[in-house]
């Protein structure tokens, strides 16, 4: 088990997510994580459903999509190695805000929401290491959303 944790931590450290994380925090976090492999095309999160897991992509790519009536699915953001998915799992509501679909075979370290919440509640130093990284992920979502908004605010119609 210890060896397994070390391996997971090593994998995690190779991504930006844990590159600057203190080793002991990385290990304690990895101890409650589960390595998951998804084939291409797998839905790792579904919009509107309860989000039970927070994941960190170790290798692969996930498309975050919104279903638009009459338009179909639109990808508004893709996330790659080191990026987080399922951050809604950290919220009391835990409802996913978009659907995440793997574009390539993807490996992720996944944390069940209850043990993760318990670990962070008991260890503020772990919580304070996790939350800034979650904020980076959420900021990226926000930036992608704003980019879409810019299209809405483009110059108005000209008749000629």
């Amino acid at each position: 088990m210890r060896a397994m944790t070390e391996t997971l931590c090593a994998l995690l450290t190779q991504t930006w997510f844990a590159a600057d994380m203190p080793e002991d925090i990385c290990e304690r976090l990895s101890a409650i994580g589960e390595l998951k492999e998804y084939p291409a095309g797998a839905a790792v999160v579904s919009e509107g459903t309860t989000c039970r897991e927070l994941g960190v992509i170790l290798h692969g790519r996930i498309a975050l999509r919104l279903a638009l009536p009459g338009v179909g699915e639109q990808t508004i953001l893709t996330i790659d190695d080191g990026d987080l998915f399922g951050w809604s799992a950290l919220l009391p509501e835990s409802i996913a805000t978009s659907t995440g679909v793997t574009l390539v075979p993807t490996t992720a370290l996944v944390f069940d929401r209850e043990p993760l919440a318990a670990l962070m509640a008991a260890n503020p130093e772990i919580a304070s290491a996790i939350y800034p990284r979650v904020l980076v992920a959420v900021t990226r979502r926000l930036q992608a959303t704003r980019t879409q908004l810019l299209d809405l605010y483009r110059a108005g119609h000209e008749p000629w």
Binding site: Q74, T78, T147
Partner: protein, 662 residues
């Protein structure tokens, strides 16, 4: 310089001066009373001069008053400045013809009238020089302005009275006249003390056969102008004003004055140094004959800062007032090495709501004001990195033929143009051309490839002019001016890693840079290209970029803002491609082009990755109308984007980059 030996012209003999001035067919323009103001107009004789009149001025008011004496020049400045004659409000620029595929555009021949300006004041001499310097700057200058100025003979008159709105003393432009005029008159009750400043002036005066002025007369003339100086005082202490103003860009007074400012443009149009113009396009009903005129415009009009797609860089009146005031008193120094204000006070008197520029300056940038951060270095033009300008002068109105049109996306096409003009063939990556189809607006277009036999232009259809261009057929002609602007400083990246970031149509000016770098591949370290587009369908040069992806000596990644489920690539903003990348930015020179928001975000991310401001280059989009720095539209702080850019380093721009409303 002014000759020491002053002569005397008795009042009764003044008409002889008129005769001498007009002897070689020269026409005389001078002050005369029209519609309640002293204005400059063509004179049939000196009997039309404003004898016995003066003008009382105050903020927002100008009233003629009788003086009760016979003096002719007992006023200071009137409603119009001499720019009416050196920089007329409407000047024909080109005549073009588009007949089927054939396009011919020719500059209108300049035949300036030979004029004598009579009654030019010290501040106005300064204004003529200042405007002349501005119109001679840049790669081509303004030919019409230069020709008119050169053809004029200046007969100056030293001020004998001071208006309440005068402040030439503060600006260092008067009231004494010690040069810059062909003939200088000082009016006394009995006549005029006459000095000459040039050979041309001496030629005219010699013909009058005047005796010398008595030393008492010269003394009285000197005392008279001395009294004017004393009366004006020093209303706007100018020492350090340029720096004080640029440290006050976020002063609350800008918003306060904007509440009163009508943005009506009167101040700029009566200003004797303001030179901003627009290009007015007209055509016949068949769209065959097209003309362009240069017309007076103003930075106070909303349309002045507008670019394609209706973006506006100075949407608020506050932005426009700040642009005007900081240009006059601060950034003019950067651009032309002098003040842009001569203290004539016209902007004060002719403001319909009486805004007094002296009061605003003393409120916004008073002496002893706490000095804030200076947003950009003083005189950046002097100290900038070696300018990678083309060595050849830009060419005007070169006809080029479309060899092919290929649509890159639904609204963007690449025109392959064939031409044989050596200047255009010598274009540098990053330069642009003004592209003209008679009858249509003339857009600046980045060169997207430099070929031995011509240029490629990649154009996005955002309005009628660009739509007409992307819809040209093979064999059609267009008229070009260029190459214009400063290109990418490729040499600055020799021996270094290269990072290139392009968003949307921004890839067009980047592509010749890629061409040039790959042509000298061994001179560079690692090369990384990051490309962004709105959707997969909006990507440019797709086949070519895919071919680059096959090379082992560079890295290329792309991302789109959004995509359908069929897109397997990355989605998000372009900085996502490298914000966690492992490379060391301190060894890299970066080049970027795209929407301004994208470039702001990219600049921040590159900074975090260690790329220094000196090594971060970008190309800016502004409303370019002339392309050579004489129309004023594309001003950004101390720069004209067309002339000093469009390529800049972040270090050069300082906080002029991304400052709202600048």
């Amino acid at each position: 310089m002014v000759t020491a030996s002053a002569r005397f012209l008795p009042r009764a003999d003044l008409d002889r001066l008129f005769t001498a001035l007009t002897a070689d067919g020269r026409r005389v323009v001078g002050p005369t009373v029209v519609d309640g103001s002293i204005v400059h107009d063509e004179l049939a004789s000196f009997a039309e001069l404003p004898k016995g009149w003066t003008a009382e001025t105050a903020p927002g008011a100008y009233r003629l008053q009788p003086t009760g004496r016979d003096r002719l020049f007992d006023y200071n400045v009137g409603a119009t400045s001499w720019k009416r004659f050196t920089h007329p409000s409407i000047v024909p620029l080109t005549r073009g013809r588009r007949d089927g595929n054939q396009v011919v555009v020719e500059a209108v021949e300049i035949d300036p009238p030979k004029l004598a300006f009579v009654g030019v004041r010290a501040c106005e001499i300064a204004a003529l020089r200042i405007q002349d310097r501005a119109m001679r700057a840049g790669p081509l200058g303004d030919a019409d302005h230069i020709a008119r100025g050169d053809a004029a003979l200046v007969v100056a008159v030293e001020c004998a009275v001071a208006a309440s709105t005068c402040f030439c003393t503060s600006m260092g432009t008067g009231p004494e006249i010690d040069g810059g005029a062909d003939i200088i008159l000082s009016e006394l009750d009995e006549g005029f003390v006459v000095r000459t400043g040039t050979d041309a002036g001496a030629d005219v005066v010699d013909r009058l056969g005047l005796g010398p002025a008595e030393s008492l007369q010269s003394d009285r003339a000197a005392r008279q102008v001395g009294a004017v100086r004393a009366a004006i005082g020093d209303p706007v202490p100018a020492e350090g004003l340029a720096t004080r103003l640029r440290a006050a860009l976020d002063h609350p007074r800008w918003a306060e004055v904007a509440d009163r400012c009508l943005a009506c443009a009167n101040c700029t149009l009566v200003c004797p140094t303001c030179f901003c113009t627009s290009v007015a396009v007209a055509s016949d009903l068949d769209g065959v004959e097209g003309t362009t005129d240069r017309t007076w415009d103003s930075c106070f009009s909303q349309g002045f800062g507008r670019v394609a797609g209706d973006a506006n860089f100075r949407p608020k009146v506050k932005d426009r007032y700040r642009q005007w005031l900081t240009h006059k008193f601060s950034t003019w120094w950067d651009q032309f090495g002098s003040t842009g204000c001569v203290g004539c006070g016209r902007c004060i008197a002719w403001c319909p709501v009486g805004i007094d520029v002296r009061e605003e300056l003393n409120a916004i940038a008073p002496i002893g004001a706490p000095s804030g951060p200076i947003p950009w270095p003083l005189s950046p033009i002097e100290g900038r990195a070696p300018a990678p300008l083309a060595t050849v002068e830009p060419a005007a109105h070169v006809t080029a033929t479309v060899r092919s049109v290929s649509f890159e996306t639904v609204d963007t096409a690449t025109l392959e143009l064939v031409l044989d003009d050596p200047a255009l063939l010598g274009s540098r990556p990053g330069q642009f051309v003004m592209v003209e189809l008679p009858g249509f607006a003339i857009p600046p277009i980045s060169i997207s490839r430099i070929r031995p036999d011509g240029l490629n232009l990649t154009i996005r259809s955002v309005g009628p002019a660009t739509a007409a261009l992307v819809n040209l057929a093979t064999g059609a002609e267009v008229s070009l001016r260029g190459p214009l602007g400063r290109g990418w400083p490729i040499e600055a990246a020799y021996g270094r890693d290269v990072v290139i970031v392009a968003g949307g149509i921004g890839l067009a000016p980047i592509r010749p840079l890629i061409d040039a770098i790959l042509a000298e591949r061994p001179k560079f370290g690692a090369i990384r290209l990051y490309l962004g587009a709105r959707t997969p369908r909006d990507r440019l040069f797709v086949a070519e970029m895919n071919a680059l992806a096959g090379r082992t000596d560079l890295e290329i990644e792309e991302i789109v803002d959004r995509a359908g489920p069929e897109w397997q690539g990355k989605v998000g903003i372009v900085t996502q491609l490298f914000d966690h990348a492992p490379w060391d930015g301190t060894r890299a020179t970066a080049f970027m082009c795209g929407p301004e928001r994208m470039m702001t975000a990219t600049a921040n991310t590159l900074e975090h990755r260690g790329v220094t401001d000196e090594n971060c280059w970008l190309t800016l989009e502004r409303n370019m109308a002339c392309g050579v720095g004489t129309c004023g539209h594309c001003q950004l702080g101390p720069f004209f984007v067309c002339r000093d850019g469009p390529v800049f380093s972040l270090a050069e721009l300082g906080s002029a980059f991304g400052l709202e409303g600048l």
